[in-house]
């Protein structure tokens, strides 16, 4: 009869310990100024994306040919593009597209990579060989080029760009997850669970994947800047978001024709990309310093 209460007590203790750990993580994070700066940029980005309609001064899609290419000023805060659309408003709305691509890629590539790596590491043998060979091939091909080729076959568009980036982004997660899975698959606690009759599926989901989560989170934040840059690059080449969507890379691409006489058309969206990817890089570095189990072990 007394097993139930001790069980719940243990659970409460675990929860308290987890809460304490999260609190200590936040406290250490707050002491890292560059990490806080990155976090601030991320919050600002989310804010812009959420409140774009209220923050914008113009309709981002509405052309106004009398104001085309006008310089930054009172009417157009950051100037207007070749169709007289307000660049400030377009950059604000563009933050939604950036978040959309990053979100799509992260949400798909991390689980795919995690699953492939964990299965390969846990089962070993020929499963491992085949999965890792495939991973190696994807790793061996240059990322941007592979994404280009995929988009060329799939056709341009924002979702296809996200799919193409996903297809190039999952292999590092697989490598990482496999290494973690190899490390724990024969550890005592996993063997104990296995002896107790747990299925391989249960072991993978309940005991191996949780061990990979912190490395995956670190990798994810570090990857985000790269995803933003790749997506912008695809947009710049003309294979990402299509007009009239205010995607930042595509905006630079149209502004390219006016770079010498109307520098603001190309410069402003590029600056937005730079700030956001800087923010993600700072955030990623800070989180890695705090979370990476391999760094923690070092003095």
């Amino acid at each position: 009869m007394s097993t139930m209460p001790t069980h719940t007590i243990a659970r409460a203790q675990v929860r308290a310990a987890q809460f304490k750990q999260i609190k200590s993580f936040c406290r250490r994070f707050a002491r890292n100024p560059s990490g806080m700066f990155g976090f601030f940029i991320l919050v600002a980005l989310l804010f812009c994306a959420a409140f774009a309609p209220w923050l914008a001064t113009h309709d981002p899609y509405l052309p106004n040919l009398s104001g085309r290419l006008s310089a930054p000023g009172a009417d157009y805060w950051l100037g207007a593009d070749e169709l007289g659309r307000d660049i400030y408003s377009r950059v604000l709305y563009g933050s939604r597209l950036t978040l959309l691509i990053v979100g799509l890629v992260i949400v798909t590539s991390a689980p795919i990579g995690l699953l492939v790596g964990v299965i390969a590491g846990n089962f070993g043998g020929w499963v491992d060989t085949i999965f890792m060979r495939v991973t190696d091939v994807f790793l061996a091909v240059p990322k941007l080029l592979l994404a280009l080729a995929f988009v060329a076959a799939l056709g341009p568009g924002i979702v296809n760009a996200a799919i193409a980036i996903t297809l190039t982004a999952w292999p590092p997660y697989a490598r990482m997850a496999r290494a973690e899975a190899l490390a724990v698959r024969n550890s005592d606690y996993v063997n104990a669970v296995r002896l107790a009759g747990a299925s391989e599926f249960h072991i993978i989901v309940q005991h191996i994947i949780p061990m990979c989560i912190s490395s995956v989170i670190v990798r994810m934040t570090l990857d985000m800047a790269g995803i933003i840059l790749t997506a912008a690059g695809l947009g710049f080449i003309g294979l990402g978001a299509q007009p009239p969507l205010p995607e930042w890379g595509a905006m630079i691409s149209t502004g390219r024709k006016f770079i010498f006489d109307q520098w603001w058309v190309a410069t402003v969206p590029g600056f937005a990309i730079f700030i956001v990817s800087l923010g993600f890089n700072l955030l990623g570095d800070a989180i890695r310093d705090l979370l990476d189990p391999h760094l923690k072990a070092r003095p």
Binding site: P142, L145, F150
Partner: protein, 350 residues
Amino acid sequence: MAAIAPASDGIRRLGRVLTGLATIAVTLLGLIALTFFIGRVIPIDPVLAIVGEKATQEAYDKVFYAMGLDKPVWEQFAAYTWQLLCGDFGTSFTTTRPVLTDLLTFFPATLELATLGLLLGIVLGVPAGVVSAYWHDKWPDHLIRVVGLVGYSVPIFWLGLVGLYVFYYRLGWVAGPGQIDVFYVGIVKPITNSILIDSMLRGEWTVFWNAVSHIVLPVSLIGYFSMAYLSRMTRSLMLDQLTKEYVLTARLKGASEIEVVFGHALRNAAIPLVTIIALSYGGLLEGSVLIETVFGWPGIGNYIASSLFRGDINAVLGGTFLVGAIFIVLNQLSDILYTTLDPRTRPARR
């Protein structure tokens, strides 16, 4: 024992080389499968992708049979692999020349850019990383880290545009887009297809200096980009080394700081660093797609990007395959380099 040892060493080394070659072969086969998949399987109708919507049934059928689409997939794949191995990448629909010929004409320009950029990156990045690690958490470290951070946060194509605006349009320090001014085109007869080398060999110095003023900006950008990466890598490798005990021992024995840093720590950090540099070279070849687009550079990246728009899938896949193959070979070479440079992986002397 001593008599047997060299022979078994030789066999072991041969075995290692063979394993390396097998890895290259398998990965290359995977790459071929990948490009095959992209070219034949993803498009709903690969024939339409080539002949276009308005083709006659006759033209459609001709391409259909020429591509061997009536055969089973594995047979198509075998034929495709064989073609690629024979160096037949198909014909480019826009230039109507074999893709391989096109690639070989455009490749030297890319190679020029990537090589000079990488050299610049090494010359700046490795010392920066050493300085950064030596004065860990002091102001030189912070400065170099900020410069590096900006380097890999900035979209390189945008930086290229800003560079063109500032240094070409505003200041007039460098020449504009392109590899060379229009009225110098065709003066130098190609030997290696690299304008810098050719004009030097032919003694056409005005052409040479013109080409230099064109290449300065893109090379600086690629150099900055690779410097950001290499300084970060060098820093973390050097930090690892400088905290090791042998460094302390060397200092205790009275070695000068220069000796400690360059003679001991950098020598040990150099082994992984060489592999990192070799790998980043492949990355630069690829990264040149964006830079070449910005600068209108007649290289492989520009070729691939412009082929993309004309729906020239053969050219795109050929380019992807070539760069991918170079990437794979570099990858493997860096592995071999690692084992030859690292004395611990050599067989012990007897």
